[in-house]
Amino acid sequence: MAIVAQHSRFSKIAWPVLAWIVGLLFFFPIFWMVLTSFKTDADAVKPEYLFFFTPTLENYANMTENYDYWRFATNSVIVSVFATAFTLFVGIPSAYAMAFNPSRSTKDVLMWMLSTKMLPAAGVLYPMTFLTKNILGIFDTHFLVILVLSLINLPIVIWMLFTYFKEIPKDIIEAGKMDGVNTWGEIREILIPLAWGGIASTALLCFIFCWNEAYWTVRLTTTDAATLSKLIEGNRAPEGLFFGRLSAVSTAAVGPIVVLGWFCQKQLVQGLTFGAVK
C-alpha cells in the first residue's frame, strides 16, 4: 500500500514538473524572440540585457514604415486562404471517391501521393524557377504561389480527409443514393455535414502549413507575391544580423497564426492526432 501511495504521489508531482520543463523548453525561443523584438539591435546581442532592458517599439515602427509589413501580410493571407480553399476543393471529392468507391489501385494512389512528399524540394528548384520565370512567365505571382502551396499540401490533405471519410458508415452514403441524391448532393448534403469537424481541422492545418511555408515562397517570389516568410528572409542581412529587427518581423509573422491556433486548439489537436485514437 505504502509503495503504491508513494508511487502515485511521486507521479503526481513528477509528471507535471516534467511537462512544465518540456513546455518551457519549447516556449522559451518564442518568448526570447518576442522579448528581443522590443530591444534595439545593439541591446539584442548583449547578454546582460537578456531580461532587463529599456523596451522600445522602434523595430515595429521601422517594420511598418520601411518594410511595408502590411503588403507581405496581405499576400500571406491571400495565398493561404486561396491555397487552402483550392486544396479542399480538389481534396474533398478525391478523398470521397477513394473512401467510398475504392478501386484496386486506390491504396497505390494514396501511397504514390504520399511519396511525392519524399521528393527533396531542392531537386526541382532549378526547373521550377526556369519554367515559371522564362517559359510560363508566372514567377512572383499570387497564382504561382497559390498553385505551389496547394500542390505541396494536397497529399496530406487528401490523406487526412480520407481517414475522416472512412469513419462515415457506407450505408449512410448508400441511403443517400437510394433517396435520389447525385454525387455532388451526397458530398454537399451528407458527407460535408458529417465530416465537418475533420474537414475544419484539415483546413486549419493546411492554412498553417501554407502560412509557414518558406522554401518555395522565398524562392519563387521577389516583391509582388512575397509573403511574410520572404520578409523574414529579407531581414537576414549578410553583413551581420539585426536581431531586434529580425525578431520583430518574426513575431509579427507568426503572431496571427499563433492567435488562430490558440482559438482552434481543440480542432488542431484532433487534426494532428487523426487516426491515433478512436
Binding site: 450505408d171 448508400e174 441511403a175 443514393k177 437510394m178 433517396d179 435520389g180 448534403e189
Partner: protein, 334 residues
C-alpha cells in the same frame, strides 16, 4: 406498378462468382423474401436490384424498363438498411423529408406527407429529435418512414430487424406485414431468419451460394421442399434426416421427417430411442432423442402436456404421409 424481372443476372467480385446466372420474376404487389444462410448472396442480389452493385452481366427490368445501367436514385426504389442508415445530423422530420427535398417536392406537401408517415408510424412526438436520441425500434421506423414518403415502385428491406431485440422484432414484423397489406406495394425482404420468411412472405426465394434452390409460397416450401437444403432450412426445429437402411425401406437415399410429424409413445412405436434433453416451452415440448440407430439426434415436437425425462425410453412413429424422400443427389423423389 412494381414488377421486377432479373434475366440471366450474374455478379462476380474479381474471381469470386457470387451470383451465377440467375432468373427471377417478382410480380407487382408481391411480398418476396430472399432467405438463406449468411454469405448465400441474398444481400448482394438485393443490392443488384437497388443498383448499389453493378451487375457483371444480365438484365434487370422494372416495369418493362431496362434499369441495368440506371443509377440507384433513378430506379424509383426505396431501401431500408439493417443499420437504419439515418442521417445523424438531421432531425427525424428532416430525415423523412430528405428524399422529397431531393426530388423537389413543394415544402407544404413535404410537411403533409411527413406528418402522415409519422402518424402511421407513431413518430409524431419524435419529429424534432435526432436519430441518436431514439431507440432501435424508433430508428427503424424512421427509416421506414423515409422509404414510405418516396412512394416507391418497390421497397427493399435488407435484414431490417436483425439489430432489434426479440420482442421488438415480432412487433416490427407485424407492422411491416400490415404496411404491405395496406399499401399493396411490391416488397423485397432479405433475411436469414426462416421464421420471418415464413410469416411475412407471399413468395419465398431460398438461396444458397448464389443459386436459387426453390421459389414458392411458404407452405409450398414447407410441404414440398425441392431438395434437402430447402427441407432443412425451412421449418423450425429443423427436419430430421435419416439415411441408411431405414431410408432404403422408403426407396430413398435419405428420408426427412419434421419434428412435428412424429408421434411419441411410452409403450410402442416404429422407432425407439432414449431422451437426451427435453425442452418445455409450455405449449410445446421438444425432445432430443439419442440412440435410435437412425441419426445422431432425432428431434420431436410434442404437445406441451407430454412429459419424458432424461434417460427415458421413448417410442417414435412418423406420420407416413408426410415423410419426405430424397435421392443420392439430395433432390426430392415424388
Amino acid at each position: 406498378m412494381g414488377r421486377i424481372v432479373l434475366e440471366n443476372v450474374t455478379k462476380s467480385f474479381g474471381d469470386a462468382h457470387v451470383i451465377p446466372p440467375l432468373d427471377l420474376t417478382i410480380e407487382d404487389g408481391e411480398f418476396t423474401v430472399f432467405v438463406g444462410p449468411s454469405g448465400c448472396g441474398k444481400s448482394t442480389l438485393l443490392r443488384l436490384i437497388a443498383g448499389l452493385e453493378e451487375t457483371t452481366s444480365g438484365r434487370i427490368v422494372i416495369d418493362d424498363a431496362d434499369v441495368t445501367e440506371v443509377s440507384p436514385s433513378k430506379r424509383g426504389l426505396a431501401m431500408v438498411f439493417q443499420s437504419y442508415a439515418l442521417y445523424p445530423h438531421m432531425t427525424v422530420r428532416k430525415n423523412i423529408a430528405f428524399p422529397m427535398r431531393m426530388a423537389g417536392v413543394p415544402e407544404s406537401e413535404q410537411e403533409e406527407r411527413v406528418m402522415a408517415a409519422a402518424k402511421s408510424l407513431n413518430l409524431v412526438d419524435y419529429l424534432d429529435r435526432k436519430p441518436g436520441q431514439l431507440s432501435g425500434g424508433q430508428r427503424q421506423r424512421v427509416a421506414i418512414g423515409r422509404a414510405i414518403v418516396r412512394d416507391p415502385t418497390a421497397f427493399l428491406f435488407d435484414e431490417p430487424l436483425s439489430n432489434l431485440d426479440a420482442a421488438l422484432r415480432v412487433g416490427m414484423r407485424l407492422e411491416i406485414s400490415e404496411m404491405h397489406e395496406r399499401m399493396k406495394t411490391t416488397m423485397i425482404y432479405v433475411t436469414h431468419d426462416q421464421v420471418e420468411a415464413m410469416t411475412m412472405a407471399d413468395k419465398i426465394v431460398v438461396l444458397q451460394a448464389g443459386v436459387i434452390e426453390q421459389v414458392g409460397t411458404p407452405l409450398e416450401l414447407y410441404r414440398t421442399p425441392r431438395n434437402k437444403f430447402v427441407a432443412g432450412f425451412i421449418g423450425s426445429p429443423k427436419m430430421n434426416f435419416i439415411t441408411g437402411e431405414e431410408a432404403a425401406h422408403y426407396g430413398a437415399e435419405t428420408i426427412g421427417v419434421r419434428p412435428e410429424h412424429i408421434q411419441v409413445s411410452a409403450d410402442s412405436g416404429k422407432w425407439t430411442g432414449k431422451v437426451s434433453v427435453s425442452e418445455h416451452l409450455g405449449s410445446d415440448t421438444f425432445f432430443h432423442i439419442h440412440d435410435t440407430g437412425l441419426a445422431d439426434t432425432i428431434t420431436v415436437r410434442a404437445d406441451g402436456e407430454v412429459s419424458f425425462k432424461h434417460g427415458d425410453t421413448i417410442h417414435l412413429t412418423p406420420r407416413e404421409d408426410v415423410v419426405h424422400k430424397f435421392d443420392a443427389a439430395g433432390l426430392r423423389i415424388t
